[in-house]
């Protein structure tokens, strides 16, 4: 099975306190720790486990710039067979629809049986996979937490729905699935693994290779535009307990006793 995984390099929100820049048109990106978007990493692991069972190859693709190549190498160190960087000045400022249009053009230059994305990335939009599927006229399912390959070009998939319940579907190949975290345990990648793929060539593809109409992508074509960032209002906001550790615990103990927290 030929599997394509769409991945993104993002600031690691578990490692960073996100601050806004002075112009409030972006976050402060100096000194941020970047990594592969966590759900995408689960998607790559799932792809690798599928080809271990039924054979095939895994390709990881990202739309970005030169510095995004590092996540492709990381996923290749995990075992992905190919990495592809899609990069072109014409692509910058694309909205989700633009990114999906670029990926569609790439998919049409090859043949993939299965396309995986992570469930969502740093912008929390959870949109590119579903858009790509619609553009390709492939079936789509989101929040996938299990995949079983059936006979006759089908998969049996589980989706996470409300209340810890799981929805089971049969879906025809080729299809697009968005992968939820927790579907598997992504393998560890050491520095040694990264070094081993350090010199593997990664092709960079742009407008000419993909045949994308520049009018349909990038900032000018974006229909949904971010105006600015702002710090969310505090709401009622927590009363922050200050002071030494002992004082903090004193205050907390009093509150817990009053609220019935100690039984």
């Amino acid at each position: 099975m030929e599997i394509l995984v769409c991945a993104k390099r993002v600031p690691d929100t578990s490692e960073n306190e996100i601050e806004l820049n002075g112009a409030r048109n972006d976050i402060e990106r100096d000194d941020l720790v970047y990594s592969v978007n966590e759900p995408d990493n689960y998607a790559v692991e799932e792809a690798l486990q599928i080809v271990d069972r039924v054979g095939g190859k895994v390709t990881v693709v990202t739309v970005g710039s030169d510095e995004d190549e590092e996540i492709l190498r990381r996923e290749m160190a995990m075992g992905a067979h190919h990495g592809v960087l899609i990069s072109d000045d014409a692509f910058s400022g694309s909205d989700g629809r633009g990114i999906a249009a670029i990926l569609k053009a790439f998919v049409q230059t090859k043949h993939y049986d299965l396309i995986l994305t992570g469930v969502q990335a740093d912008d929390g939009c959870a949109q590119v996979g579903g858009m790509l599927a619609a553009m390709l006229d492939y079936p789509f399912a989101s929040l996938v937490t299990s995949i079983e390959v059936l006979e006759g070009g089908k998969l049996k998939i589980g989706r996470e729905i409300e209340g810890g319940n799981k929805e089971i579907n049969a879906i025809d190949l080729p299809c697009v699935l968005s992968i939820q975290t927790g579907i598997n345990e992504p393998r560890y990648v050491g520095m040694r693994g990264i070094r081993q793929v350090a010199s593997v060539p990664i092709p960079t593809l742009g407008t000419p290779e993909l045949g994308v109409d520049p009018e349909t992508v990038g900032d000018r074509a974006a229909k949904v535009k971010r105006v600015d960032y702002f710090v969310p209002p505090a709401g009622r906001g927590a009363e922050m307990l200050q002071g030494s550790r002992e004082e903090t615990i004193d205050k907390l103990m009093d509150l817990l006793k009053a609220k019935g927290g100690l039984n």
Binding site: P11, T13, S14, E17, I18, I27, G96, R97, V119, D122, D123, G124, A126, Q127, V128, G129, G130, M131, A133, Y138, P139, A141, S142, L143, G158, R159, E162, G163, G164, K166, E167, I168, N169, A170, D172, S178, T181, G182, E185, K223, K225, R226, V227, D228, Y229, F230, P232, G235, R236, A238, E239, M240, L241, I249, L255, L256, K259, G260, G261, N263
Partner: protein, 337 residues
């Protein structure tokens, strides 16, 4: 202003809470009084359940468009999308709750309708010309963003559940319009097979009065014991957020959130939990919420009653020690009296 439709999620003949929230969002898009076009609920399904839902919507919606087809008996997004495409007038604005079904349905629907898509909207600031200004969150809820979108040719907008409080409305006395004949071909490459119910765990966290809940900040499976010791001392149970289950440090039956268990404790200690909306969605009944997190910008501090900036790996053992001391003191006081 294009006509606004609200997609109604329902189950067992009962409309989801979002059915009462979408009209509030719609009124912020079409702010004219009365609205320039009647707000219309669009409901897909089959049988008596569908009829019951349509009937229940008559108080909140001016019109209810019913699409009754057997392939729509279970809401398979690939099938529902086809029905909506055939029934929705060109240029419509469709509001959808941003939960598991909306995430499945909407991105592809926007492509097929050739309209913009705005996901997970938490506030709508209103129109500026033909542009709608909306608020979303990014980076795990650490920052908010204004986004702008031209909706003059229609749009699909996913609304965050719980973000728009239902307002009491005069009974709309809506009429049910049967649009089933327009649904068209509903064959799809995806077929619903069955739903597997969540497995019960050793502890039913939905019944606990006090929860010590741990998140990514617990850092390692070996550290889960720190929370268990505190819970034991407090007479509480340990629950957790999604990353802890993803890492297989705790069982899925301990996960609080929209994709896990809904809890109603009196006291909830959120330890090393950032506070995603999916997690908060699982905490009901307005408990006394204590947040302990080393990141002072963690979104959990915006909703907690009390916040402590600390590393839970240091803080929790100290708190446990203190709770145990307190118990032994009050125990000996009781013995003396």
């Amino acid at each position: 202003m294009a006509r606004i439709f609200a997609y109604i999620v329902h189950k067992g003949g009962i409309a989801d809470d979002s059915a009462a929230e979408l009209p509030v969002a719609a009124a912020k898009i079409d702010a004219a009084q009365p609205p320039t076009a009647p707000l219309t609920a669009i409901v897909t399904g089959w049988g008596a359940d569908l009829d019951a839902v349509c009937e229940s919507l008559r108080t909140g919606y001016a019109e209810i468009w019913k699409i009754a087809k057997e392939p729509l008996a279970y809401p398979n997004a690939d099938v529902v999308r086809k029905a909506l495409l055939n029934v929705l007038p060109r240029g419509s604005i469709l509001l959808v709750p941003h939960a598991h079904f909306g995430v499945d349905l909407s991105p592809g629907l926007s492509i097929r309708m050739d309209v913009p898509y705005v996901p997970d909207v938490m506030e709508i600031e209103g129109m500026d010309g033909t542009s709608l200004k909306l608020v979303r969150q990014e980076f795990g809820g650490q920052v908010s963003a204004h986004v702008r979108c031209d909706i003059s040719s229609g749009a699909v907008i996913n609304i965050r559940p719980g973000a728009f409080r239902p307002a009491p409305t005069a009974a709309a006395g809506g009429k049910v319009v049967d649009k089933s004949a327009d649904a068209g071909d509903l064959t799809a490459g995806r077929h619903y097979l069955e739903t597997i119910a969540a497995e019960a765990g050793d502890v039913d966290i939905s019944k606990q009065q006090v929860l010590v809940s741990i998140g990514r900040g617990i850092e390692d499976k070996e550290n889960v014991g720190i929370a268990e010791e505190l819970a034991e001392a407090m007479g509480a149970a340990v629950s957790c957020s999604r990353p802890v289950v993803d890492a297989k440090w705790m069982d899925k039956s301990r996960q609080v959130g929209s994709s896990g268990i809904t809890v109603r404790p009196k006291v909830y200690l959120a330890c090393g939990i950032s506070g995603s909306f999916q997690h908060l969605d699982g905490i009901k009944g307005n408990p006394f919420l204590v947040a302990i997190n080393k990141n002072p910008k963690a979104p959990i501090f915006r909703v907690a009653d009390v916040g402590i900036v600390a590393d839970i790996l240091e803080f929790l053992p100290e708190l446990t020690k203190r709770v145990l001391e307190e118990k032994s003191v009050s125990g000996s006081e009781r013995r003396q009296s």
